[in-house]
């Protein structure tokens, strides 16, 4: 793996060395002891209560309370057939690369998290759906699963308990939408990756028609630590509403792009200027996308915000996947809009009218403005198209396509206006569009 700088915490403690690379190495660090204890002596109910008490928010982008998600699954009284855990390792949000580190450097931490989650929801099997481009992660995970089976960590008596579990690795084929949980389930079933309408929700009717919980990689990696050290310990980190550490992936115009494990609530400016070393080349900060491409941008003047949803919400953006994209003052925000809308136009699954047509229309409007053929009314038109898409479709993809455009228009209207006025891009030095 390419070396990326990172700061460590409990999640990434051994991601810099090889300690977690093998089953023995992980066990030597006390790995699987928590799961062994819970699988033998714990109950699913207690486990769910612990998770709920910890307040762990899902790290896949939506920040849904993980324990609550588990509790939606049918209880022991439902014995109509199998139920499944799906680990969403299709990390595909542009700007987000945190799960990759965990997949490549802490596979057994993930497997332990999987075992605990599966025990909590009484799943007999986990589908580990890995982004197809993550070749190294797939290699590492395949070996880790084989090791775990051979070492009886997985199997009919997982970790010597009476709980049977197996993990099946499935490779994605490169669609962003297959990271959406029901799009993923469709893909897992061998179908075209198109999100499902809800209801039914996965906990009722998930993969292969069975109750299913979908959890993100990082979410599951928190679980062994929470169970081992307790909900109170976890609550002691981060903010009251958003406890725990998270992995911030910083990219763009910074001195030290990389992954930084920090408590939720760490100020964005601290992450950008201290941990990531500030803007590269001595230039000035212009804007930061705080949580992956689908979150609204923040202008330089608003980066003094703690990175937790309760604070980001006040600035009309959100934590998303914690992928922080930093842009300096040479960046043309219309070009940024071009790239973002092009991405979402390419990746829309095409089911819902507003998303299928809206993503394409936005991209065509923005491209026209970038070419210097824009009109002043296009700004209002763009906002209106966003409003027609937001909150009206099967999944959150249309929202994810609308929010960043809304953010750019909100904070950088002058960039758009300047293109219209001068009929050309005012940032000759800005990065070139592919």
């Amino acid at each position: 793996m390419q070396k990326v700088p990172f700061t460590t915490g409990y999640l990434t403690a051994h991601c810099g060395d090889d300690a977690y690379g093998t089953l023995d190495g992980y066990k030597a660090e006390g790995g699987y002891e928590t799961a062994r204890r819970v699988l033998k002596k714990g109950t699913p109910e207690d486990l769910i209560e612990t998770l709920k008490a910890s307040g762990l928010q899902g790290r896949g982008g939506a920040s849904f309370i993980a324990g609550q998600k588990w509790s939606f699954m049918p209880g022991a009284e439902d014995d109509t057939g199998p139920r499944y855990l799906v680990c969403n390792a299709d990390e595909s949000e542009p700007g987000s690369f945190k799960d990759r580190l965990l997949l490549e450097r802490a596979p057994h931490l993930l497997l332990e998290g999987i075992l605990l989650a599966a025990f909590a929801i009484r799943a007999e099997k986990t589908f580990l759906y890995v982004r197809g481009e993550y070749g190294e992660a797939i290699r590492v995970l395949t070996r880790a699963i084989e090791e775990a089976r051979a070492g009886k960590v997985l199997g009919p008596r997982a970790l010597g308990s009476r709980f049977a579990h197996d993990v099946v690795l499935v490779r994605g084929a490169g669609a962003y939408i297959c990271g959406e949980e029901t799009g993923l389930l469709e893909s897992l079933e061998g179908k075209k990756g198109q999100p499902r309408k809800k209801p039914p929700y996965p906990a009722e009717n998930g993969v292969f028609g069975r109750p299913t919980t979908v959890n993100n990689v990082e979410t599951l990696c928190h679980v062994p630590h929470i169970v081992e050290k307790g909900a109170d310990w976890f609550r002691g980190i981060g903010t009251a509403e958003s406890p725990g550490n998270t992995l911030f992936g910083v990219s763009g115009h910074v001195v030290r792009p990389g992954l930084y494990e920090l408590p939720l609530g760490t100020p964005l400016d601290e992450i950008v200027f201290e941990h990531a070393g500030g803007v590269a080349g001595g230039r000035k900060l212009k804007a930061v996308i705080p949580g992956g491409l689908s979150m609204a941008v923040l202008p330089a003047g608003q980066v003094d915000v703690p990175m937790a949803n309760e604070f980001l919400r006040e600035r009309q953006t959100a934590l998303g996947t914690g992928g922080i994209i930093v842009m300096d003052d040479t960046t043309c925000m219309v070009r940024v809009a071009c790239i973002i809308t092009h991405f979402f136009r390419e990746e829309s699954c095409g089911q819902c009218t507003q998303c299928r047509e809206g993503t394409g229309w936005m991209n065509r409007i923005v491209s026209r403005i970038e070419r210097g053929e824009g009109r002043f009314e296009d700004l209002a038109l763009l906002k209106d198209v966003c409003a027609k898409m937001e909150g009206k479709t099967i999944c959150a993809f249309a929202d994810a396509a609308a929010w960043p455009v809304q953010g750019l228009l909100r904070h950088f209207p002058q960039d758009f206006q300047s293109h219209v006025t001068h009929g050309q891009c005012p940032y000759p030095g800005s990065f070139v569009l592919a």
Binding site: K197, W361, G391
Partner: protein, 527 residues
């Protein structure tokens, strides 16, 4: 019994089955298409507009046009949701008219139209196009696009029955679900994604199944059109008449599209007890038989002209034909009695005509009677093996198996045969040779058929689309039909001819002037 819940839609309360969604529940109680009676769904505005939802297909939830505001109770906050997939619950309040709903619908309509070719003037769907209709009622009246519209394939030949215009398609996927869920043939799919999504067949796999033309019915726009009706007639020139398909004993309900006193098409008419919303392609195309060249248009009487080797059927007037029957049957009756006469009914005749036939035979005291029906392929969906719309009606009137009648004919006990329809030889128990020795064969038929070869007198009768009558389907449901087109002046109902023949024979209760005649004198030309 299913639990019932009460929901309120725009201040109207409905009691509906639990476990249904809002659109399903409204459809269950007949409220979704308030003016459905006598009109095709394409002609009436739905209470909640929708594209991808269809009462007989799975819920798709993708067109997003059926968005409404729902509240879990009168005091709960409103939430925008699609009516097709929102489960009903006790006290659910649905608002279909709020500003939020109107804006959401307008958004969908505008976005559906940004890439639509807007070629209504040359589009065959114009006039019964839901995109056109809802653009007027729920859409915007101007385009805000500067960009060129998406180019896609035109005039795609999807198979033997359907032509596809990819640019007009709004990707509702009704046709895809139809082929997967109803016919199980799965020929269609949506390929690629985003705004490059296109409906296609799989390579070298044409859309070819026994029900393929239904996809044109359920296509809300002019993307899928049938080769049969395409460019034949602007739909606003069509009058819709309720009829049934006479292809088999299912009796699928149809809308008969009529113009210029000719049937232009059949479309399935929804009847959940009979055919749901579908019909088979063979049945749909069976309307062509109404105006086919081999229709009988005059009475025929077999006569031998000077210089001919054998007698030939030749056109005759109604009076000549009736007199010819009487001249043949009267001496036979007087000499040998009714025991040498047999009557064979048809599954093509209406209940009214079958009753008239039975009465005629009863008054004559003929008791050698049976029913001739053709049988063919059947399937699990709609097509029944019995090829005739009214076999059940004929049996109910008293016409039973053909075999005893055939045995008596072959045994030489029969000298005269009165037969309805053209299925006399269908089951093989009788053929022209077996009937060659009969003194008299009187036939009533819509079309020329092999029966003619042995017939002495032939009467031209009306097709189901040409009469006000009723037919009983295989499930015993009596289905009325209305006259859609007026046949030639000499084409009449079986009962009408029989009435005249009875009168000519001097039978009790048979008058010279029939009701039909009086009616046609009074109202001829009205239709």
């Amino acid at each position: 019994m299913t639990e019932r819940v009460r929901i309120r839609v725009d201040d109207v309360e409905y009691e509906v089955d639990a476990g249904r969604t809002v659109l399903q529940a409204l459809d269950d109680c007949g409220a979704l298409f308030p003016e459905r009676d006598g009109k095709r769904p394409e002609q009436t505005d739905a209470l909640i507009p929708h594209y991808c939802w269809h009462p007989k297909l799975s819920i798709d939830g993708s067109c997003r046009l059926c968005q409404v505001e729902v509240r879990a109770g009168a005091d709960a906050p409103p939430k925008l949701a699609i009516a097709c997939n929102t489960p009903v619950s006790e006290g659910l309040v649905v608002d279909t008219k709020s500003e939020t709903v109107a804006a959401a619908r307008q958004g969908v309509m505008e976005l559906l139209l940004i890439n639509h070719p807007l070629d209504c003037p040359i589009c065959d769907q114009a006039g019964e196009c839901k995109l056109q209709d809802y653009a007027y009622t729920h859409g915007v009246d101007h385009a805000r696009t500067r960009e060129p519209r998406r180019k896609a394939k035109k005039r795609v030949d999807l198979g033997p029955t359907i032509v596809f215009d990819q640019e007009r398609c709004i990707l509702c996927r009704r046709c895809v679900r139809f082929c997967r869920e109803v016919t199980g043939t799965g020929e269609l799919g949506v390929f690629d994604r985003g705004d490059r999504s296109v409906l296609e067949t799989f390579p070298d796999e044409p859309l070819d199944n026994a029900y393929s033309m239904n996809v044109a019915d359920i296509c809300p726009v002019g993307a899928l059109t049938t080769k049969d009706f395409r460019f034949k007639m602007r739909v606003w020139f069509l009058e819709d008449v309720d009829g049934i398909c006479t292809g088999c004993s299912r009796g699928c309900n149809v809308h008969i599209g009529v113009a210029k006193n000719a049937v232009q098409r059949y479309l399935p008419r929804r009847n959940d007890a009979v055919n749901g919303t579908w019909m088979c392609d063979d049945g749909r195309l069976s309307y062509h038989e109404i105006a086919r060249e081999d229709r009988l248009t005059t009475c025929l009487v077999r006569e031998q002209a000077i210089g001919e080797d054998s007698p030939q059927l030749r056109p005759a007037s109604l009076d000549e034909a009736v007199a010819a029957v009487a001249a043949r049957l009267r001496p036979l009756l007087d000499a040998k009695g009714p025991g040498v006469i047999a009557g064979i009914a048809s599954a093509h005749a209406s209940n009214e005509d079958l009753r008239a036939f039975k009465t005629f035979l009863d008054v004559l005291d003929v008791d050698t009677i049976g029913l001739a029906v053709a049988r063919g392929d059947s399937d699990d969906l709609l097509v029944e093996a019995e090829k005739g719309a009214n076999g059940a009606g004929a049996r109910a009137v008293g016409f039973g198996a053909l075999a005893p009648v055939a045995d008596r004919i072959r045994g030489g006990g029969i000298e005269a045969l009165i037969v309805l329809g053209h299925d006399l030889f269908a089951d093989g128990s009788l053929d022209a040779r077996a009937l060659a020795g009969l003194d008299t064969v009187v036939a009533f038929d819509t079309h020329r058929s092999p029966v003619e070869r042995v017939a002495h007198v032939v009467f031209p009768v009306r097709h189901a689309a040409e009469k006000d009558a009723s037919y009983t389907n295989s499930a015993g449901i009596v289905q009325p039909v209305q006259r859609a087109v007026v046949p030639g002046p000499e084409v009449r109902d079986e009962g009408d001819f029989l009435q005249r023949i009875g009168a000519a024979l001097g039978l009790a209760g048979f008058e010279t002037e029939t009701e039909t005649e009086a009616e046609s004198k009074a109202g001829d030309g009205a239709e």
